[in-house]
Symmetry: C2
Subunit: 199 residues, 2 copies
């Protein structure tokens, strides 16, 4: 299998989905975007459902790589860095594309097991990541003893999910939300109360 061609089709799927949305995008659109033929798409992917499932795996790899690349030694730096990474805003950024693409496939989740299973992987990845940062912070004494990592993670992941939904549907900037989330973390998780985050 020619990996480059298959990957280019997935990248083209991303662009076509951002332009048109899941309901309106066709294999013809994706073929045009990839400058290839519908036949070649069918050669790699049996149908639109298979293509979209593969597309979500492709996005998942990029997404987890970006999140794992967040740097910082201290738990609070890692948490703030994570907020900045997943809430990064602006027209045409990777974050904006991801949100729009996710939103497009989100709508299919209640009706499509393959899509739902994959969206659950995104959700679980972020949940585990946040929970582990918060647990590290509690263990290190950087976050309050009475913070329950699982509960805090659930709340944070829910707010991030809402930020993506609201950014894509009602055009609310998530930049502002990144600030609010940071303030929430500074005020409500950090053991010694509100202070400035370094750099």
């Amino acid at each position: 299998m020619d990996d480059d061609a298959a990957t280019e089709i997935l990248a083209a799927t991303h662009r076509a989905l951002c332009d048109r949305g899941y309901a309106d995008v066709t294999l013809e659109d994706i073929a045009a975007e990839a400058e290839t033929s519908k036949g070649l798409i069918h050669y790699y992917y049996d149908d639109k459902e298979t293509l979209f499932a593969e597309f979500l795996d492709y996005l998942y790899d990029r997404y987890t790589e970006r999140i794992e690349s967040v740097e910082g030694e201290a738990p609070r730096e890692r948490l703030v860095g994570l907020f900045e990474t997943v809430l990064a805003d602006g027209e045409g950024t990777a974050g904006e594309q991801l949100r729009t693409a996710m939103l497009a496939v989100n709508a299919q989740a209640p009706y499509d097991d393959a899509i739902r299973t994959r969206l659950e992987r995104f959700d679980e990845f972020l949940l585990e990541r946040v929970e582990s940062i918060v647990a590290d912070g509690v263990a290190a004494g950087a976050f309050d003893d009475d913070v329950e990592p699982a509960v805090a993670a659930e709340f944070i992941v829910t707010a991030i999910s809402g930020a993506h939904t609201r950014r894509a549907t009602v055009d609310r900037s998530s930049d502002r939300l990144a600030e609010t989330m940071t303030r929430y973390a500074e005020r409500h998780l950090v053991a010694d109360g509100p202070t400035e985050v370094p750099g």
Copy 2:
């Protein structure tokens, strides 16, 4: 115009959308659900886009009625009551149907001005409602002086939006979230710290 027939078409749109999702639902499906003809749907609504715009206005009226019916004298009771109303969970409830339906149309928002404008009305309604409750609470001394109503409302509405998205896409219960939100409000807004909310 026969209001009953037009309203029955909107109710049928809701059911068809919950069953199939926006991408797959057709005017034929809606006609079958309403036990009427596609011709009659076209008589009331020019096309699928017009029908969906009217459908969102219909949902908006039901949604705002439900939120306005939340009782309670004190700001904290009103806030907790609002969380319970918008996060009410369970298969087949009005809340669950609303979420699924909203999710279906959310995906169209980036590509359709009429839909986006209407979703903005939902968002602004909830934002103003929460901000006004929080502002009342601060003014009455029930919430902390240093709570900024607009910032708290933005955070709360974002978390609610995320709860709806996660409930519909990855099947995370929002019952649990209602508890977490209440705990957030109790812990972080209420002036005298964590206490029990009157039943």
